[in-house]
């Protein structure tokens, strides 16, 4: 190495470096007030989940027949109490733990598996592409809710199985997005230039493909977090996910549905939380998409 250095230039002169693409994306997102608000909502929800035990004013499991279905604003129960007399505020705060876990876990796992499948299919093309993508299309043909319910039902009720089934539901759409972006990038001249220099397919994927396709796939996956939340709530609602008495927003929505006529506002609170979280993730995904779309 030192010999080569001597033969050309002993010390490389300093060069002017331009800020990279991702720092530009971060800069643009940070200037987008809507996306930043959404990010702040998400961060506070996560903080709420992490510090639930210190924030929650009461024990979320402590029930009392006397306090059943207290309205919002009852002294000592700012958000009322549920059908077993448990403090709603505390249950909502604790509920963030399981709900966020179920909303956030499947997406990154599906992102990794789906991207791997889609990128391989898109780069290889031909028969490999047909094999991977047609298999995926079989799963894609079912509506996601139906598929999640069917998989969960087949695997049996329980938190882990619910997570697995939601992950499986998300792999096909992510793989399809990954495949289409990769096919696009694959046709560009810089890929041909890299092939012409004799690089191995994996090297080309690592250096030239990943950097140009992961962004769009990531944006798409961010948008799936809200779907994941809703699917997870749905599974819990049907009794296929989290089991009582654990606090989880979907499950809470289920158990409170009998109280919809007595205390409609209290019964709607878990739904509100799901709604706010989903919207926040969707808005953040939109902000990311426009920040990444900007040319030059």
């Amino acid at each position: 190495m030192s010999v080569l250095q001597q033969s050309t230039a002993s010390v490389l002169p300093p060069i002017a470096r331009s800020p990279g693409y991702w720092s530009g994306v971060v800069r643009r997102v940070s200037r987008d007030p809507v996306a930043m608000t959404a990010l702040m909502v998400i961060v506070s929800l996560i903080l709420m989940a992490v510090f639930a035990s210190s924030i929650a004013p009461a024990d979320p499991f402590k029930s009392s027949m006397l306090r059943r279905l207290k309205p919002i604003g009852t002294p000592g129960f700012p958000l009322g109490a549920d059908e077993l007399g448990r403090d709603m505020l505390s249950r909502l705060i604790y509920g963030a733990r399981l709900s966020l876990l179920m909303g956030l876990t499947p997406v990154p796992i599906a992102f990794v598996i789906g991207s791997a499948l889609g990128i391989s299919a898109g780069y290889a093309g031909g028969l490999t592409n047909t094999l991977i993508m047609r298999t995926i299309d079989v799963f894609y043909a079912f509506p996601s809710v139906l598929l999640a319910v069917a998989l969960s039902g087949a695997l049996g009720a329980g938190l882990t199985n619910a997570l697995v089934s939601i992950t499986l539901v998300f792999i096909p759409p992510i793989a399809r997005v990954a495949e289409s972006v990769t096919t696009q990038v694959r046709s560009l001249d810089y890929i041909d230039a890299a092939r012409a220099s004799g690089a191995h397919a994996w090297t080309i994927i690592r250096v030239h493909v990943l950097g140009n396709v992961l962004g769009p796939i990531f944006v798409y996956a961010t948008g799936l977090v809200s779907v994941s939340m809703i699917l997870a709530s749905g599974l819990s609602f049907l009794g296929l996910g989290v089991r009582p008495p654990e606090p989880e927003w979907g499950l809470m929505l289920n158990t409170l549905r009998t109280a919809i006529y007595n205390q409609p506002l209290v019964a709607a609170l878990p739904g509100m939380m799901i709604f706010i979280t989903s919207i926040a993730f969707n808005v953040l995904a939109d902000g990311l998409r426009s920040a990444m779309d900007v040319k030059s």
């Binding site: 250095q5 230039a9 810089y190 230039a193 012409a196 250096v207």
Partner: protein
């Protein structure tokens, strides 16, 4: 800075001496299937390259011209092994590529510059990283690869301290094309394929890049294959020229001779189609009517006969072979040049030429 050429490197790799052609191509064929209409519809094939043979001599610039769909870019991609030929062989300095000469070794010696300067650079990589990619995968240490990239940037006229750390979108089209040239040179190739490399540039920038290419050729001892639709640029750049039409070679020969006195009617028509650069001598009549035909179902016999002014019934049935022209400076695939071919001009050929002006050519205003 590295200003001296690398004759030592080139000499080491030279096998057959200057007389052996650097690249020779024998009966190269590439057909692409076309998706048919309907579910089980049977599509045709695009005869993109259909039996093309030529050679590139050491140190020369071979020009390739022709209309869109003539197969010139497909030929380039076949030479780069970016697509696999259906038939035919590529011999590099006496060694059959893929058999005697491993593909990885061949790829270090043949590099390509594409037309679209933006699409041929990875937008997420800095200029420096794009150039060092090739040397790095061939095992060069990072510091050495960077030093090499900086040298090459300086050689193509871009100050490395200003440009090495920048991204493709921050550069102008001409600067990007210089980067692409530097990237292609990073593996010390012997043959550089320039596929419409200056076509997308502004004219004032095009002239700069043409000068640069001439300098680099001399400094690095390169051989060029120069593909372009612009005959004026080709005339200026090349030693020999190959004219392609619908996947076949129409004419092949010495550049100056072909441009001064084309032997194939298609070459003559191509030349006459170029703008005249003189308002007093504007084109009065279009040399060719209609668009270049589709290579899916090429005409029988000579592929040019439906548009040819010299066409006779015999042209529709016989595929003309490449035949030396009267002057011997080029070969053309035209029945009018083949004695006893049945073409009326060929009968005149059989007789001793009376004077050079009676050459059976249409208006060859070059």
């Amino acid at each position: 800075m590295m200003t001296a050429p690398h004759p030592s490197i080139l000499d080491e790799r030279d096998r057959g001496g200057p007389a052996q052609s650097l690249l020779s191509v024998n009966a190269l064929v590439k057909h692409f299937p076309v998706k048919g209409s309907g579910f089980f519809g049977r599509g045709g094939v695009v005869r993109a390259v259909d039996g093309v043979s030529f050679e590139i001599r050491k140190g020369e610039t071979l020009g390739v011209v022709g209309e869109s769909g003539c197969g010139k870019s497909t030929t380039a991609r076949l030479l780069m092994h970016l697509i696999q030929p259906d038939r035919g062989e590529i011999i590099f300095d006496g060694e059959k590529v893929g058999i005697d000469l491993p593909l990885s070794e061949y790829r270090r010696q043949v590099q390509m510059v594409f037309q679209d300067s933006y699409a041929s650079l990875n937008p997420r990589l800095t200029i420096e990283d794009s150039i060092t990619f090739g040397p790095r995968i061939h095992g060069m240490a990072e510091t050495a690869a960077r030093a090499k990239a900086h040298d090459l940037l300086a050689r193509v006229g871009l100050d490395p301290s200003r440009f090495a750390g920048r991204y493709p979108h921050e550069l102008s089209g001409g600067q990007r094309q210089r980067v692409n040239i530097a990237r292609a040179l990073a593996l010390d190739p012997r043959l550089l394929i320039l596929d419409e490399a200056v076509s997308a540039l502004d004219k004032s920038v095009e002239a700069q890049v043409l000068n640069l290419l001439q300098d680099l050729k001399a400094d690095f001892g390169l051989t060029y294959m120069f593909i372009s639709h612009d005959l004026n640029v080709v005339r200026f750049m090349v030693d020999r020229v190959m004219v392609m039409y619908l996947g076949t070679v129409a004419e092949l020969g010495d550049g100056e001779a072909v441009f001064a006195a084309p032997s194939h009617p298609y070459t003559a028509a191509l030349l006459a189609s170029m703008p005249k650069m003189d308002p007093a001598e504007r084109t009065i009549e279009a040399p060719l009517t209609g668009d270049p035909p589709n290579p899916i179902n090429p005409p029988s016999g000579c592929r040019f006969h439906p548009r040819c002014k010299l066409a006779e019934p015999v042209c529709a049935s016989i595929l003309p072979p490449l035949t030396p022209s009267a002057a011997g400076t080029s070969q053309a695939a035209c029945l009018a040049l083949v004695p006893q071919s049945g073409h009326s001009h060929a009968d005149r050929l059989a007789m001793p030429p009376l004077d050079p002006e009676s050459e059976p050519m249409p208006e060859a205003s070059a």
